[in-house]
Subunit: 233 residues, 8 copies
């Protein structure tokens, strides 16, 4: 009995390629999914693929995968060519947030979207953020990656006029363990209009950015280039 | 001592006009804020303004406010003229979600953004959604408003290629009371790339949509009109 | 001192054979229970028996057990012959839900109940469910197995007229970790009349289905074959 | 704009008539829904209709409603005639559980299903349950209504062979306040195969029973009258 | 710097000998505590001493310890001689509760209190309890050990007139994982007057029983032997 | 249909008279219960009877009730005569805990047990406790009533050798609101052997003390008057 | 029986005058406490005294109280004269935090400590904080008052070198309701060394500041005036 | 791309040297941070550095680190010389709290602050605290380290007049597991003015003490040496 039904129509339906979440799956299940991909399919993204599971895959499958152990992602086949246009910004609070940020970056890369990462600019040293602010404001979408109190989400949301997506992480201990505090802090942000994805969900934050870029490309001609109130200067 | 410092630069900084959250404020505080708005300021949005508090405001202040008791919002001065371009879609699971949906609609209206509302199309009667799907897909941004299990967020997220924002509501009882189940269901959605705002936060969902529209208007000329994989057909 | 008191009268009292939950028990305790089963008892089901514990059992006990590592179940002695009549449907949201679904399937099999499994038809790709809907509707009882947001429980509950049982799973991360979101989403479902079992409780979902089949067999002659409102077409 | 879309096909699709959950709706919304019911529709059930809201409805609407303040339910038009066949049993732990039990009873009545209620037989006085056990065992479905520790759900589940549905209530204080303890106790029951509905969800428990009766009536002719292991003696 | 200050006066102050909780301590800390016990001290109880930690202690310390791996307790020196008088009853719901029950039994033994254990009499097979009820009623104190829904606490509390102490365990999964459901069910019991100790706290339940036995021995001469309402028949 | 089944055998079974918990019951239900008490029954205790509900009872029923608005308890008929023997001690952390302490005191009084109350001796002013310690140590059972951090439970538990019962209250705000912090603090007490009742459950704490006094009276002759280790000096 | 024991030695023991928390107390209890204050006692602070309760006090008691309805505090007798030395800073995120901030200010005032309040400088408009930063840095202790995401606590903690105390408030809705998010955000702050008081505990934050000022006054002569690393410039 | 941006200005801004939290970082990241420290920087503190990670660092890096496995801290370069002036007191409830207490002690040491530790003086044996009280009262700041019920925080807070900081630990099991009970107990303390840091946050408690010492040194000359009410005697 086939346990996995490939969603080959996903891109035409929601503008995103199929991805496989590996965390709850056995190595045997993952190998079967990879083996079952129809010839000619351009690419497949695997997320939450632990190094141990990757190493346990058949050697010929491993050879066909572009694997990154930090983000625990693998790409089967070629990533899409990078679309022309502005780069999405990924802003990190600290070094511990790198794995989740890189999952987002790899998902954007796989879908052909340029991105720029700004590391280690948590609000405990506010000048680190203010120094990079003008660059960050140029991005059409900003993904803010932060654990612990996730105060960076609010601070960035109060300084940037475009789309901002909060990506809370499980970095922290005590009340911050597991990421609930970062999640709730992001949802309760005093900066308006910053929606949040699930804890550690770099893949989801990137997909949300891709949806916005889909919208941007589809509706570009329909909007005037009038800029309301000159945002972002 | 002045207790409220008006953020007159908000629009130029983040592309959104100042708004006042009235839930934790006394009538005296609200009246002082309204009285303190500088002459010539175009508009001010008041949210979570209960009918009792509205009725307790000075009569001359009430006269200057466009008040809607269902959404508990008031607009001081004129709303911005509606910008040309496509309308944001607001999709509701049920009649009980109307107040939160209308808070979003009024916030969009106040900021000059067109919107269309699709009511009572929860997944328990799936045909109600499928009948309206083509219309919904035309919107650049879809706000999905749902309480209880918030399954509508996942179903819409799996059928639409553009930006989708989940607005969980506190509609429900037992485990759904207060909206935690709807919130968590939205965050854990099996449909990728749907970020979520705080429970009952119609204002925030609208602001997130406005940020995307800001991005759209600012970057429209920079992107090609190439549509990757023909999303959304 | 005997630490386990076999409930030999369980089938005559509640229509289900005795089963042993192994998760909190030591290998020594499990071996003692298996060794203590009275001669002539037809069968015993062991659930949550990890491969490590199974391997640590005495070799002659292992020889007498039909063990399945995916569902972590073992059957001592022969399963009951399959009863004539319609098959219970088990509907899965994703590949990661296979272990819990198979625990349900094995429990039905052990108790002599036919079943059919429908895999990987989560709502993110709604057509996968709609393609199989007519088959699913034929079942007297449908067990819906889903983690993360468990939106599949509501969608199936809104499309099927017979008994539906929700089996939430611990598949997911962040707010979905541990299965609380799936559980709450199922309990708060907008589709009426879908009761829920404990997280990952494939055994319990199957027992609930068996109780319904017991009722069906016991009361079949007492009901008219009048079909109220022609459900299920 | 119509805010409510009547699901006239619900009975033919899932075997249950449309019902309106009134808790989150304004009196104006409820009045509009009642006024909008298409002529010739046989009946409509309103749940969670507080006496204050009922009293605020237009007098001619009130005249057409069969209202019960204890269960806070109203029936518009005639209930269905009672179907022939065995009665569903509703078993209550205590007097405080009466409102939820009556919501279940009224829902069964509205849908034409006979029921019998067994009151105040909590396990603190176990003999009260044992005295009525033979009667309870005759029912095809037993709904157990209990708050606080909900131990009654486990005790009944261990004594009855047919379908049992647990209905946890919010009765209690301290850790029991709101019904979480009763809910979790029911889900973690040591008696196998007892699924649970949301807290205080008498309507849902009744719908789950109706689905089983639908199954029973639809499949009655397909099953043999062989009774496996003579359950229920 | 000495990290542990022995409480040599504990018995004279609260009627219980000193005990050492080993769960959060390193092997080096435990060895230092054991080595530091003053000559002539009659005994020391060590709880939560994992087999790995026990094995890592110096061989001469291990020789002086009476160690039980099931309950993870060790006794240094001799236990007190058993006091004359009635035995405390320990009643278990299932085999998985044996470790916690044995921690209680060993603590009673160490303090010179007789006890009798009744195993595997969970309410899913109620006759197993009713068969032993007369014996259980003879005990001055009954400790009820139960995980999952802990319904046994309520059932015993409703059948016994003397002191009953609830000991909830972490046995279970899903909502029962960690023992919160058992704890809350015990606290919300419909049977009056059954206080509860912390989850898995066999040591604490035994100490509570010992305090009652202390009271009993101290006040025995002061009370009449009048039995109010003939309890316990 | 009678909704309440009086448990006339409760005292002979568990040594406590019947009591009625009024919080979830309507005035009509309470009046029916009071009216239905069999002639010749010695007494009935009503708990959680709010002043508003008491005032709404029929005047002739009110005349027969000994009502105390602080503890919200009423006694129908005569309380039992006070048994000879030592008094139970009730120790309060603060003035806000008086209602719960008085519910315990009234329950003891109703069942014929002497008690002494020690008020306002929270640990923030430790000398208030130490000044009364010798008196408190004379009691066979000590009920400690405390909200907020409930540190008093641990301090008393570390100073007294007899039976101690913790009664956490909902006094407090922020993290202490509702009493969860006091409950958890009591359960996690560093003083061994202090079991805990549900939040604000003065009735239950008193019943636990009564069970101990039942044990004391029943087993007094069976124990030696040997005092182990001279506790309590 | 006296229910309240005045702690007249509190100031000599912990450097703070006695205060009465009125939230859980009846008007009768409060009146009795006020009436019972010993002649010659300099002052008494009452907190959480709702306007309704204040109005219900005897008129002669009201006359002797300095009552502030915003902070719900009353001072009996004269406040202490303001001590010479630097003022404590109270920094507020928004207008809704005024009541808690004023409770802190009034507590400082009552104890003779100067304070300065900085209102409405939440991080959504970061310039409002930066404009006042030099003034804030002059204070020996800074109390930061913030609800919702409480990001202000982290931002101030990262900019100020002296003692900072976080006072989370219950301002907010959804996940922020009740103040848990603000509390957790403060505890998990990325700025080191900012301890937190209970939600809405303006009194406690002021007492923590007073303890620091006590330390400062007591140890001033013992420390060198060497400034390590020139903090704060 | 550099993933870590050293905050060289931290001491001049907030009076504390830079520290690196290693829990969420890979060995490669930690090694890169250590390697990247600018020549001439006086010192760097690493916290939550597990022995396994320490052992995996390059041998030449290990040689330059002063590592303590109990507290899991390492100091790169020399600690600051101890400042003259009074020592901070660290008071521990039990042996299991040593790791967190030592993290605080090492952080104080690294920053040049003298400290004295008082071990194993939990309230279950109250005399252990009272014996050391006079010494503890001499400290300008007292850090109280306690898990389980954390009653020690309240007791010390009620006996000491200077600054007290609560450091709740994750020591305990059942409801105390993870430290939530200790945290909440500290926040809800009946002793006024004791702020709390995150669970197990020895580093943060020390930083809070250092901020107070910074304040003390900076403002010493500005305050009179008048002691209000003669606290602390």
């Amino acid at each position: 009995m086939a346990e996995f039904t490939f969603d080959y129509e996903r891109r035409s339906r929601i503008g995103l390629d199929e991805a496989v979440f590996c965390a709850g799956k056995s190595t045997a299940q993952i190998a079967a999914i990879v083996a079952g991909v129809r010839d000619g399919v351009t690419g497949l993204l695997l997320t939450r693929l632990d190094p141990e599971k990757f190493e346990a895959l058949p050697v010929e499958q491993r050879a066909g995968l572009d694997y990154d152990p930090v983000s625990r992602t693998a790409i089967l086949g070629a990533a899409r060519p990078i679309e022309p246009g502005p780069a999405v910004a990924i802003v990190l609070a600290g070094t511990s947030d790198v794995p989740m940020a890189r999952e987002a970056a790899r998902t954007l890369h796989f879908n052909g979207q340029a991105q720029t990462t700004f590391t280690d600019i948590g609000v405990a040293g506010l000048w680190r953020l203010l120094d990079r602010l003008e660059e960050i404001r140029l991005a059409p979408v900003v993904i803010v990656v932060a654990g612990m109190d996730a105060a960076l989400i609010s601070v960035v949301g109060g300084l940037v006029s475009g789309a901002v997506i909060g990506l809370p992480t499980s970095v922290g201990y005590g009340v911050a363990a597991g990421g609930q505090t970062a999640l709730h802090s992001g949802l309760a942000s005093c900066a308006p209009g910053v929606p949040i994805v699930n804890i550690d969900n770099g893949y989801g934050a990137a997909c949300a950015a891709l949806r916005i870029m889909n919208t941007l490309r589809r509706h570009a001609s329909a909007v005037s280039d009038h800029q309301p109130g000159q945002p972002g200067r």
